[in-house]
Amino acid sequence: MAKPTEVEAGEQKAPVIQPGHTFASITEKVSAIVLRRPIMGGWVLGMFICFIILQWFLFAVCWLFYRGVGVWGVNIPIGWGFAIVNFVWWIGIGHAGTLISAILLLLRQSWRNSINRFAEAMTLFAVACAGMFPLLHLGRPWLFYWLFPYPNTMSYWPNFRSPLVWDVFAVSTYLTISLVFWFVGLIPDLASMRDQTDNRALKFVFAALAMGWRNSVRHWNRYETAYLLLGGLATPLVLSVHTVVSFDFSIGIVPGWHTTIFPPYFVAGAIYSGFAMVLVLAIPIRKFYNIEDFITMRHIENSAMVMLATGWIVAYGYAFEAFMNWYGGDPYESFLRWNRLHGPYSSFYYALLITNLLIPQILWVKKIRNNPIWLFLVSLDVLVGMWLERFIIVIVSLTRDFTNSAYGMYFPTHIDWAILCGTLGFFAACMFLFLRLLPAVSISELKTLLPEAEVTVEHETEVHQ
């Protein structure tokens, strides 16, 4: 629940919602984006570009299925190429949505109420993009259901001692829970949309999706409990997902992967890149859809501070990795350190240090944290940096493992690049559609931020006449 002081504390911090709004104006403003706003040229252009990219993606995927994974740059010793790099990158981006919707809910950070909806949508689309890579790299993707334990005529079961099987369970649970979390949050807003529209067909669709939600306080009571429970369950879940993803590496014995710092360092990196993506989306959305009243500079600055903090956890991860390479005294680990700094991919490593560690330090400056354009650029830089980090982890370790005879190099093909760009296009297309079809800001949760939402009557007031 909102404290009036939060809204009044405008001198020091920007408010979480601009003063002057009422329950009706919030409903009107958010639903108008979907119901009354005409389709703008910018939206059509963006969607058109996404459509072109999706055609490119379709071509690449068809070619991949037709010819097999040989069209990628993967070859022994580098059996894991872009597919795993992109998978880890995308799933990390998804983590910020769950962090905002679940962890900040439990911590009663009411500023989350205006950004959780689109951050959760971002999570869903990012996990969908991530999920494509394991399926695409299966070689025989039509047999994907072999990943799940089901009674079959081969009397065969998945190996539950393998981190790859853990990953199947972690990612599919994450996708399912993110989906229901997002949908449960949407139900009251779908009811609002149903009552706001005059179009009969739209009314029918929203009414069907809202399932007859009628804002009864009994329903709200159970709804709040369910929402809080989901938050409580999603919090350990989000931490476990990237932990399990990091197990894909750290359970193996490849130099540079076999380390205990991986789980916390992967989770921090995930939140780091996720908040970068939140900013990359929030900054244009609030501008073009005129919702600067709801997504204020407070949200933008808070996200920047989370980025800075998690960026330092990632830096700690790098430092400790290097320290353990030296302190552990393992010759293969020492060679890995040398190889990262001086090997064939060293330029990528220096680019990683610059994009992921050096440039984000400008976020210490308050002026930069309050400048959307600078923040947008820094966020893009972090997204590139986090992609490079996964590239370094996967590729550098695999190209030089234990014996000289097994050394190799990895060069992605244009199909690799087409699939990476294709998922970006898919993600952007989903966001474009989401903004036009569903309320991008939670209407009912935003209302609780208004001072009018506070019940001020004493409990004993004239209960008996």
Binding site: F23, F160, F169, I177, Q196, G212, S444, T448, V457
Partner: protein, 178 residues
């Protein structure tokens, strides 16, 4: 649905405090089959109509425990009975490696139970409900609050109950046809 009379009476309010006071008085006057409606969750309002506890947490707990137990049992059964693989004499029941899937399935079943349990206890999906017949009720998703007394309440009386609701100072009192 056939017209069998009135489903209840509904009073409309334009701010949360009036609605909370009205709900408390309605409960205080001995009405028990009552409900209230608000554009966003208001804890005081559900307290006021005497709705304190719900079963969602219990459903979630049972779902989570079942999910976790089923996941561990399945892995144990596969590893030791259905498909035992001897890897250098290591124990077949290698339980630490089963914890992750057990954990994930606990979360999955707990979360889904919370959501579907909440919907089921709320009686959703429900395509038709008499309250939607009241034209003013549309504003409940925007900015208005409603307090409702069902005709099934033992103290319900068409004229006396209407007079009672009108004394609470609402914007309007409407009859909800069933």
């Amino acid at each position: 649905m056939k017209d069998t009379g009135t489903y209840g009476l509904m009073a409309e309010f334009d701010n949360v405090n009036d609605a909370v006071i009205a709900a408390r008085r309605t409960y205080g006057a001995g009405y028990r089959k009552i409900d209230a409606y608000s554009p966003f969750p208001v804890e005081e309002l559900s307290e006021a109509i005497g709705f304190h506890k719900n079963g969602v947490a219990l459903v979630c707990l049972i779902g989570g425990l079942l999910g976790g137990t089923a996941a561990f049992t399945l892995q144990w059964w596969i590893a030791t009975i259905s498909y035992p693989v001897n890897i250098g004499g290591r124990p077949l029941n290698s339980w630490p490696s089963f914890i992750i899937v057990t954990f994930e399935m606990t979360i999955l079943f707990g979360g889904l139970s919370a959501v579907f349990g909440m919907l089921a206890l709320n009686g959703l999906p429900m395509p038709y409900h008499p309250v939607f017949n009241v034209p003013q009720f549309e504003s409940v998703t925007r900015d208005h609050f409603f307090v409702m007394i069902f005709s099934s309440d033992k103290n319900y009386d068409a004229t006396a109950t209407r007079r009672f609701l009108e004394e609470l100072g609402p914007i309007s009192v409407s009859e909800v046809p069933s």
